[in-house]
């Protein structure tokens, strides 16, 4: 069969899959649960030194004296670097001042403490309120422009005001979300093995194996990216915060250039909170206008993103819903806080919470079922299908029809139950970059290799599934090699682009490998390659199952030769454009303000699911993270001292066992697109909105700022009682 005759690669009919679109156990689960999986944190090299970084305890300061001599004189301290310069100054709590490398972590800590620093504190702003004050110190010296930087507007204000005035019903509110943290189980960090010479090896906790070599090569002054081998066997979570060499990596390279020894540089949990980036907050004024019949007509919004030193993220309003007449402005408000980075669906989680709260309020005001109201204003029928499905699974008709009007339940007859829903959207498409190789040897070994990384999303497992299914083998018979920059190029895992970028290239590689393999095997069975099929561990002639070879027998034909097949991205195997909805049922204790999510349902499309278990796991994980966002997690900056007062795992509260409700992840099989689409980010988007709306449905209290903590509920109930 010549190249020209090659059939177009497709994923094939759904009913023919034996592994893909099934529930598959994660391949590396045994390694992970037994602790055999080695993360960067676990790497130990002979002669390895431990790096630690000294960070600024002040939100805004100058260093007037930095004396590292005592640290340098300590036995066992092998390198000390100063990271401060007057031009840079110190602009956030966590801004690096100096770093050390020593023979033990304890010694490195002691050495940090031996560094003498004199700080001159400068005025700071760490809250939006302070940042907006007329006399506020400027975070970026901009000649009196203040800290608010407009980044665009859309629509004609006067026109929209006119239309808004004519609307039958209007709702208006100020909404806010806090700065949230990724709280990766494995903190940011690397082990840099450079002992002088031309090459280096870097173990990195990263979302981009191939995003590190160039950075590291430059930092170490080596010839080109090939001089650095980056290894990412396992990584303990990133959620958008781990690309490139990053701060700990940059510092480790500096230290290793001095020490000429391997350096392990992992952030401490405190470093992680103050210097590893975060999800930006927002503060939004939003006005919606609708007609009596339930059609949204006009929207007016003012978005302020709170990204600390960075820009922050916020998806455009009106989020997902169809509103014809729009006026909106957007701006970034800077503070002396660590800059925001990407975090699971950047901008969308914020926008969804804000928009969904306003939409829900409008539905209540119009006295229309919030689910019906959503359908009336969502053009895309995928949402209609998903909303109906979610409503059925959670039992939407059980909810109080009028907010707060529901019997008191619970041990003390003090709790009210309610339900809410919300929607989200995402891209999830891929792009050309991945280079995937598949090898078959005469001993029957078969492997696919590519320099991607598995963030815990299950990349390793679906590569094995694609390969094994192609050759009709069990997953245990194939090998997957990932996590090395010496393997083919792969995309960094950002924007849920990995699957749609990688899986098509894997499919192309395995398809080609099979074609080349069949060309070798066909003569043995006296047929043409296109008449062969691989299934159940055998290669056989279509229609003549007795004319077959076992996999091992077939491979023998390769002799001293082997099959090497390279695949690249194929746009037609992937798609773009996702929909998701969340439903939440909550129980609110009206005496204590406690909110307990008791049930959560997610419905998510993703084209062709490669591994249903992995997709459901992503949805479950996303629901848990959404509960943290909705109810607990918040960076608390103290305006007076400028410090984040809860930069530890005691005071920064995340969901644990008792916060987790019954969760039902539903893969939207109504989506029949036969392409793969990345879904891990969108799975979180509507969560906080659904929970906030459920709280309203239960109590009649609309909390417009996350997280929804008991104090806010109690204050809200007080207000409600008075009004």
């Amino acid at each position: 069969m010549s190249q020209a005759e090659t059939k177009k690669t497709t994923w094939g009919p759904r009913e023919e899959h034996t592994l893909i679109n099934h529930h598959l156990r994660r391949l590396d689960a045994p390694e992970k649960v037994t602790g055999r999986a080695k993360y960067t944190h676990d790497v130990h090299l002979p002669g390895m030194l431990y790096g630690r970084v000294l960070t600024s305890p002040h939100a805004s300061a100058k260093v007037t004296n930095l004396d590292t001599s005592a640290a340098e004189a300590m036995p066992g301290v092998k390198a000390v670097v100063k990271l401060y310069s007057d031009e840079k100054g110190l602009k956030y709590e966590g801004d690096p001042v100096a770093a050390v490398a020593a023979t033990s972590p304890e010694l490195a800590d002691d050495a940090l403490r031996a560094i003498k620093v004199t700080y001159e504190k400068l005025p700071h702003v760490v809250t939006p309120k302070d940042a907006l004050r007329k006399d506020a110190p400027e975070v970026y010296k901009g000649g009196g422009k203040g800290n608010l930087r407009q980044s665009g507007s859309r629509g004609d204000l006067d026109e929209i005001k006119g239309i808004m005035a004519k609307c039958d019903v209007r709702v208006e509110g100020e909404y806010s979300t806090p700065i949230m943290h990724h709280v990766c189980l494995e903190t940011h960090g690397v082990v840099v093995d450079y002992r002088g010479g031309d090459t280096a090896t870097v173990w990195a906790s990263t979302q981009g194996t191939h995003s590190v070599p160039e950075d590291a090569q430059k930092a170490l002054g080596l010839k080109n990216r090939n001089a650095v081998t980056v290894l990412v066997d396992y990584m303990g979570g990133g959620f958008g915060s781990k690309f490139g060499l990053m701060l700990p990596g940059e510092i480790a390279c500096k230290l290793s250039l001095i020490a000429k020894a391997p350096i392990k540089m992992m952030f401490t949990r405190h470093d992680e909170f103050v210097a590893a980036g975060n999800r930006s907050g927002c503060s939004v004024k939003l006005k919606l206008g609708a007609n009596k019949d339930g059609k949204l007509v006009a929207m007016q919004s003012e978005v302020v993103r709170l990204g600390g030193l960075e820009q922050g993220a916020f998806a455009g309003l009106p989020y997902v819903y169809n509103v014809e007449n729009v006026y909106s402005t957007a701006a970034a408000l800077h503070t002396h806080q660590d800059g925001s980075v990407a975090m699971r669906a950047p901008g969308h989680v914020q926008a969804s919470f804000v928009m969904e709260a306003a939409v829900d309020e409008m539905a209540a005001k119009l006295n229309i079922d919030p689910l019906e109201f959503r359908k009336m204003n969502l053009k895309d029928t995928a949402y209609h299908r998903q909303l109906d499905k979610g409503a059925e699974v959670i039992g939407w008709n059980r909810r109080p029809k009028k907010a707060g009007e529901t019997p008191l339940v619970g041990a003390f007859k003090s709790c009210k139950r309610g339900m809410g829903c919300a929607v989200g959207t995402w891209g999830g498409g891929g792009y050309a970059s991945c280079v995937v190789d598949t090898f078959i040897h005469s001993d029957g070994s078969i492997a696919t290799q590519v320099g991607t990384q598995d963030l815990g999303t299950g990349t390793r497992t679906y590569i094995a599934a694609i390969l094994a299914e192609e050759f009709g083998l069990p997953m245990s018979a194939v090998e997957v090699r990932i996590g090395s920059s010496k393997y083919g190029m792969s995309v960094p895992s950002g924007g849920s682009t990995t699957t749609a970028s990688l899986a098509p290239a894997v499919k192309e590689s395995t398809t080609l490998a099979k074609r080349l393999f069949f060309e070798k095997v066909a003569p043995m069975l006296g047929v043409k390659p296109e008449n062969l099929t691989a299934k159940g561990g055998k290669i056989f002639v279509q229609g003549q199952p007795d004319k077959s070879l076992t996999w091992k027998q077939a491979c023998k034909v390769l002799g001293r030769d082997n099959i090497a097949a390279q695949g690249k991205w194929n746009a037609e195997l992937q798609g773009d454009g996702l929909h998701g909805v969340h439903f939440a049922e909550v129980e609110v204790d009206t005496e204590t303000g406690a909110v307990q999510v008791i049930k959560m349902v997610g419905v998510q499309d993703c084209g062709l699911p490669l591994n249903r278990t992995a997709v459901e796991s992503q949805m479950n994980g996303a629901m848990i993270q959404a509960i943290g966002y909705a109810l607990l997690e918040t960076n608390i900056p103290d305006p007076v001292t400028g410090n984040m007062v809860n930069a530890n795992m005691d005071d920064y509260k995340v969901p644990q066992a008792f916060e987790i409700p019954e969760m039902i992840p539903v893969i939207d099989d109504g989506d029949t697109r036969n392409v793969v689409i990345g879904m891990a980010e969108p799975a979180i988007i509507p969560g906080a909105g659904a929970i906030a709306n459920a709280v309203f449905n239960a109590t009649g209290v609309r909390i417009k700022s996350l997280p929804i903590t008991p104090d806010k509920i109690l204050r809200g109930l007080e207000r409600l009682k008075r009004s």
């Binding site: 305890p57 972590p105 304890e106 010694l107 800590d109 002691d110 403490r113 401490t268 041990a411 003390f412 003090s414 005496e591 204590t592 303000g593 406690a594 307990q596 607990l632 608390i636 103290d638 305006p639 007076v640 001292t641 410090n643 007062v645 809860n646 530890n648 005691d650 005071d651 509260k653 995340v654 969901p655 644990q656 066992a657 008792f658 916060e659 903590t709 008991p710 104090d711 109690l714 204050r715 007080e718």
Partner: protein, 344 residues
């Protein structure tokens, strides 16, 4: 995280331990007692304190026991682990508030290591105090940084000049159970009712209790009063799985003919010490616990609360817990059997 170097001493007797503690160490900074280490070691790793000498009580035999005698009541050695107290049959039957409080502490790991003596003597959790770089009133600074700062979790009662809340769950329960503490020092042994053990910041802004720098709590004893068998501890936490008390209430009472004949009510998580409310008790004694009475008792219990700018919610929350605790204890003629009400 590394600690500053220190000398670890393993005394073989209480007398030796006491002699190793510096009697002039007014703020208990230079020589420290080590029990389960769940608080002390954290403080040292975070450099909140940097003692020169650490005196390990665990090397002294005979401080880990639970003894119950119907006549003399319950005696608990200061080194007894919280997990053992929570699981003890007699504690559960005759002093349920203590079992519930011990069970509510931190996580299983912390309860397995942490001792009751250490739980009573642990230092405040206020995030200003726990930040190495900030010098708050508790660390010899001029101001309580919470007073005008982020004070959602701070005191609404008994505050000033410091507004910490006492973090100990067992302290609140033991106060309601009328416990006494045995304290050994250079001059011998004294017994102190728990109500006299804790001190308000206005009397001593640096230390939370009356212990001299060279004194050790050795035993906690609780009388076998009838009301103690009908006792409960309700702790409200923001993070249900594991958290400190945002507010808590311990109540012990006797019920006869549908009326409360005796009671003790103590609030936790709202003041720098366990907060005993005798005026509220007086309103409950001799009465049937009707909704109206409960409301009055709750109002009285929170009388005098002066919230800071972020913790006003604690007033209503604590009232709810007071009503809840009394209701729970009076709904049945016999005392409710032991039940971990922590997540009810």
């Amino acid at each position: 995280m590394s600690m500053k170097s220190f000398e670890l001493r393993n005394p073989k007797s209480l007398g030796e331990a006491i002699s190793l503690l510096d009697s002039n160490d007014k703020f208990h900074e230079r020589t420290k007692i080590l029990a389960g280490g769940q608080d002390l070691l954290t403080e040292m790793k975070e450099h909140i304190i940097e003692p020169e000498v650490v005196v390990n009580l665990k090397s002294i035999p005979g401080l880990n026991y639970i003894k119950f005698d119907p006549k003399t009541g319950l005696k608990i050695g200061a080194l007894t682990h919280l997990a053992d107290i929570a699981a003890d049959k007699n504690v559960r039957q005759f002093f349920p508030a203590l079992a519930i409080a011990a069970e509510s502490v931190g996580s299983a790991q912390i309860r397995n290591m942490g001792t009751i003596g250490g739980n009573l003597c642990q230092r405040p959790r206020c995030w200003y105090y726990r930040n190495e770089h900030l010098v708050c009133l508790k660390k010899g600074g001029k101001n309580c940084l919470a007073a005008s700062g982020e004070n959602k979790y701070n005191a609404i009662l008994g505050g000033g000049p410091s507004f910490i809340v006492h973090p100990s769950d067992t302290a609140t329960a033991l106060s309601a159970l009328g416990a006494t503490l045995t304290i050994s020092g250079a001059k011998g042994t004294r017994t102190v009712p728990i109500s006299k053990f804790f001190v308000l910041p206005r009397d001593n802004p640096r230390n939370e209790n009356i212990l001299l720098p060279n004194e050790v709590v050795t035993e906690i004893s609780i009388p076998n009063a009838p009301r103690n068998a009908r006792s409960v501890y309700f702790k409200f936490r923001e993070q249900v799985s594991m958290d400190w008390a945002m507010s808590a209430v311990a109540v012990a009472l006797e019920l006869s003919g549908g009326k409360v004949t005796d009671c003790r009510i103590v609030l936790g998580g709202v003041a720098p010490t366990p907060w005993h409310v005798p005026d509220a008790e007086a309103l409950l004694k001799g009465k049937a616990p009707t909704a109206e009475v409960l409301q009055q008792v709750a109002e009285k219990a929170l009388e005098g609360a002066i919230p800071l700018n972020q913790n006003g919610y604690k007033v209503g929350l604590t009232k709810a817990l007071v009503r809840r605790a009394v209701r729970y204890l009076t709904e049945t003629a016999t005392p409710p059997p032991y039940r971990d009400v922590n997540r009810m």
